[in-house]
């Protein structure tokens, strides 16, 4: 492995397809993939009641992508700050964030996250809207 892609999968709608895109790019370039779920607030005990559904979704995405995908749960109030911290810890070379597959609102939301990340980390950020992922997925699949 010669580098690291960090992919935000906090939003279950956008996260899964962003992770697929990140995994395809990672496989092509030989990069390590770390999937991150940001959980707001205080950590819960995972032994007492099992992981929350969102983290189960994280595990499910990782399983679907294959054995090489690593997972992280970041605990913190601010989404961008938590992602930036994990990117720093993992020595990430690229952060991939998804976009909701519907409407302008979702894209604006992700654009805000990308802008916040710009201030929080020097790591480049790639916003992968669904159409980009479809096109890139087809291109990557043909090679």
């Amino acid at each position: 492995m010669t580098g690291t892609i960090l992919c935000d999968v906090t939003d279950p709608l956008a996260g899964a397809s962003a992770a697929e895109f990140a995994a395809a790019v990672g496989a092509r370039l030989g990069l390590r993939l770390v999937l991150v779920h940001v959980r707001a607030g205080v950590a819960q005990s995972s032994q007492a009641s099992g992981p929350p559904p969102s983290e189960q979704a994280l595990a499910a995405i990782a399983d679907r992508l294959g054995h090489d995908a690593e997972t992280r749960v970041a605990v913190g109030g601010d989404h961008a700050e938590a992602l930036a911290r994990v990117a720093d810890e993992e020595g990430a070379d690229l952060i991939v964030v998804g976009a909701r597959p519907v409407g302008m609102g979702g894209r604006n939301l992700r654009a805000a996250l990308a802008r916040d990340l710009e201030a929080a980390t020097p790591v480049p950020v790639l916003v992968a809207p669904p159409s980009t992922r479809r096109r890139s997925g087809q291109r990557l699949a043909t090679r």
Binding site: A43, E89, A119
Partner: protein, 314 residues
Amino acid sequence: MRFSRLPLLWRVFAINATLLVIATLLLVLARDQIHASLAFVEGIDVVVGLAVMLAANLVLLRHTLRPLGRLVDRMRSVDLLRPGQRLAEEGGVEVAQLVGVFNEMLGRLESERRESAQRVLRAQEAERARIASGLHDEVGQVLTGVLLQLEGEGRSEQTKAAVRQALEEVRRIARELRPEMLEHLGLVSALTELSRKFADQSGLRIERRFADELPPLAEEAELAVYRVAQESLTNVARHAQATRVELTLEPGAGSVVLRVVDDGRGIDESVAANGRGGLRGMRERAVLVGGALAVKRARGGGVEVRLEVPAAGA
């Protein structure tokens, strides 16, 4: 709430709104000069126009002052252990200048912090080496002399065993304080020796996987890898309740990656993120050599410590 305590956005908005309302009232009251028969509908038009102007004023002000809000947020959350956090210099000239000055100040703070932490770590290592040398050369020699004397006098085996044990302890502490193996035989040999000793002392099974060819590291980066491995293994022995530890050293992207993974009870992510003491020390070492350190839950439970340090000249 006093006017001066209001946020800047609302103070400017209140002033602008007051002026706009006064201007509108003047317009309405001076209707004779503008329109002879101002009807009710026209009055509504004026009110709607005023509301639109106020809303536009608020939106524009909010947009103009937003970089200030981001600056305040960044000032509150900035962490010098995560260098490189900078704000885009946007907004009006003054705001952009303020952000620019803040970014420059952050650069200076990061640089000064890095230099002072480097000095502290160097002093710490020098002090450790001095203590290790004192233990080995002075206390060790005295104990060896005592042991020889006891053997010459034919004292009991129990007394001699106690002195031998003390001598071994002194040597062990000296070795831990100053990793001579690192200086003489390199990182892989030093980590092999460290993990072998750790397995002997803790009784844990340790699996080593060191890549055959690793990029060369600067002396300080090698020391950082060694110290992080040492601290991680100590944490496993103290807190993890593990039965097995995996120690891996592999090449990365112009870097070397160390992984210490145990099968113990794991760690809470918030504890790992806000770690104090040993964890913070490891993070500082990583930052000083331009590396990245992650302490996280391992895939099969337990804890994974991952340190990536740049290769020499990378």
